[in-house]
């Protein structure tokens, strides 16, 4: 068995394609144009790019949450590109996801207890209520939330607490892979640091592979081993974090790096002409 956990080759995703009732459908818009991505075991891969670059779509395509219109996706050596939903279920436990907006991703009508225990039963990870309760309490403790949180509804928690619940829900399944989609963009800077540190610690403890989607390069640099830069649904640059950050090969990466806000104030920032990039390759 290779040490590759996820291997995507030439992945294409098309949105809005329809067959139509009478045969003439719409062709749809292609948002991914043959993307390659490889994620090794225990490795954290960052996916960066501007809004609309297809990074979220790529993440969701890996988890088979959006239909893939071309290419192949292999998970742990198994081709999952055209796997039926029922055949996909046992694999679901091994690939979890943390969402951008925890308010939207936690069912507003369910209590935190329900949100955390249900997946355990769905995958048969807990034998009975007490076992589930024990596991859930252990994970809550790990993400530094008090047991009272279980009684709460999602809207009664703060943003940071909600995101911890999101993380708890993902790692509770003891997955091999976690997709973290812009998980800190809705949080303030100090909470961001806490959440990132927690996630980093957890991934090291559990030997997790992660895909970390963000538009924020400083966040990527803090957590990732390798980074993939995307633009217009294509990979612009790919490589180890240090290499990409220190010696970017693509002008687009350069541009993104220049966009990181610096701590010192540059006197001429207002009069300086905006960086311009020639059309993408």
């Amino acid at each position: 068995m290779s040490d590759l956990l996820f291997e995507a080759k030439g992945v294409e995703v098309t949105y809005g394609m329809s067959k139509g009732l009478f045969g003439h459908g719409r062709p749809g818009v292609r948002v991914l144009h043959g993307v390659d991505l490889a994620i090794r075991r225990g490795e954290t891969v960052g996916i960066v790019g501007e809004s609309g670059s297809g990074k979220t779509t790529l993440g969701r395509a890996l988890l088979k949450l959006v239909p893939v219109s071309g290419g192949t996706i292999r998970f742990d050596g198994q081709d999952i590109t055209n796997l039926a939903p029922e055949a996909m279920r046992p694999l679901r436990r091994r690939m979890q996801m943390i969402f951008q907006d925890p308010m939207a991703s936690l069912n507003p009508r369910h209590s935190i207890r329900q949100i955390l225990t249900e997946p355990l039963f769905l995958h048969g990870l807990a034998t009975d209520r007490r076992d589930a309760e024990r596991q859930v309490r252990a994970i809550l403790d790990r993400v530094s939330l008090p047991p009272v949180t279980l009684e709460r509804a999602p809207h009664e928690l703060s943003g940071g607490q909600r995101q911890r619940i999101g993380i708890a829900r993902a790692v509770l399944m003891k997955p091999d892979f976690v997709l973290a989609d812009e998980i800190v963009s809705g949080l303030d800077v100090s909470t961001q640091a806490q959440v990132l540190n927690l996630l980093k610690a957890l991934s090291q403890e559990m030997g997790l592979s992660m895909a970390f989607i963000s538009h924020d390069l400083s966040v990527i640099r803090a957590v990732c081993d390798r980074v993939t830069v995307m633009r217009f649904g294509e990979v612009v640059e790919e490589g180890p974090c240090e290499t990409v950050f220190d010696a970017p090969q693509s002008p687009y990466t350069r541009l993104l790096l220049d966009a990181i806000p610096l701590p010192e104030i540059d006197d001429g920032w207002l009069t300086r002409p905006a960086p311009v990039l020639e059309t993408a390759a």
């Binding site: 009732l21 969701r60 988890l63 949450l65 029922e86 279920r89 679901r92 436990r93 690939m95 979890q96 996801m97 969402f99 951008q100 907006d101 939207a104 991703s105 936690l106 069912n107 507003p108 009508r109 369910h110 249900e118 997946p119 769905l122 995958h123 008090p146 009272v148 009684e151 009664e156 829900r169 399944m173």
Partner: protein, 297 residues
């Protein structure tokens, strides 16, 4: 187990919050009060009604209400053309009206929610077929369609209820489908899929509870509409059959005496009006209390 509440202001329970907003509207509270009275009347009919609903007194035909000249204290609202006490019949009739409302609403809610969930969730051709069938049902005037159905099935209260339930169905299907379609793209549904939920679980446990608010409101309004339509069918002789003390049927039986004895038609009519109005007021209050957009005042 001892539970420490760490915040000073205890968050209101969902029910408490609902009650707070519901009682903001006077009409809703009045509606609820009247509805409770009607329900109690129906439950304790044998205790309240001075006579049996079908008991005839041949000597007292078309007796006027008790406060009028020639009235009798034991016949509060007078008697009908065959000497039955109108008040007693109205009290017993409340049972039928509520029964009709409950059966019709539960039938159309259950069917409508299931069909709507399937349409909204499956999408594609299933959705198109279901929605076109619903459009066809909606294209008929509702009372006319109910009449046709009863004419085919044969006139009886049970058939009238089934017909009304079918006529009400498209409203619930559309409402459920619309809510499902907005809810199913939300992240918590994706989260549930990632957690490994199969589609029945996604439909009924993940999505449905989040679609309930508009459905509850529609159900109350359909409740009153069902009573009204059952009364209309009864009036046309297609609903409950005499001597059942159903309000609409009572109206129909009495219509030839409308100029001679106004009370035989007025009181059943008022009973229908008051009940339907009360339930509608209650429904409006429910909508205001359950709609999060109107809540934050």
């Amino acid at each position: 187990m001892a539970e420490a509440t760490n915040n000073a202001v205890k968050p209101q329970s969902a029910l408490g919050e609902f009650w707070y907003y519901f009682t903001r509207s006077k009409g809703a509270v009045i509606g609820l009060a009247v509805f409770v009275i009607v329900v109690l009347m129906a439950i304790f009919a044998p205790l309240i009604a001075p006579h049996l609903p079908n008991e005839q007194d041949r000597t007292l035909l078309l007796l006027p209400p008790s406060w009028m000249q020639g009235g009798n204290a034991s016949y509060l609202l007078g008697t009908d053309p065959v000497g039955r006490d109108i008040f007693s019949r109205l009290v017993y009739g409340a049972r039928f009206s509520l029964f009709i409302g409950v059966v019709v609403v539960s039938l159309s809610v259950v069917l409508g929610v299931v069909i709507g969930l399937v349409a909204g969730f499956a999408g594609g051709k299933t959705d198109i077929v279901i929605m076109r069938v619903m459009d066809i049902i909606l294209a008929f005037p509702s009372l006319l369609l109910a009449l046709v159905l009863v004419a085919i099935l044969g006139p009886s209260l049970m058939n009238a209820m089934m017909a009304i339930a079918l006529v009400n169905l498209p409203h619930f299907v559309r409402l459920t489908r619309a809510s499902v379609m907005t809810e199913k793209t939300k992240d918590y549904v994706v989260g549930s899929r990632v957690a490994g939920a199969r589609w029945p679980r996604l439909m009924f446990i993940t999505i449905l509870p989040n679609c309930l608010a508009p459905l509850i409101v529609q159900a109350t309004l359909a409740f009153s509409a069902a009573i009204l339509e059952a009364a209309a069918l009864g009036f046309l002789g297609m609903g409950a059959q005499p001597p059942t003390p159903e309000w609409g049927t009572m109206l129909a039986e009495a219509r030839e005496f409308i100029s001679r004895a106004w009370w035989v038609v007025t009181f059943p009519g008022l009973a229908i009006l008051i009940t339907v109005l009360a339930i509608n007021l209650m429904g409006d209050g429910l909508r205001d209390a359950l709609d999060p957009k109107l809540k934050r005042s």
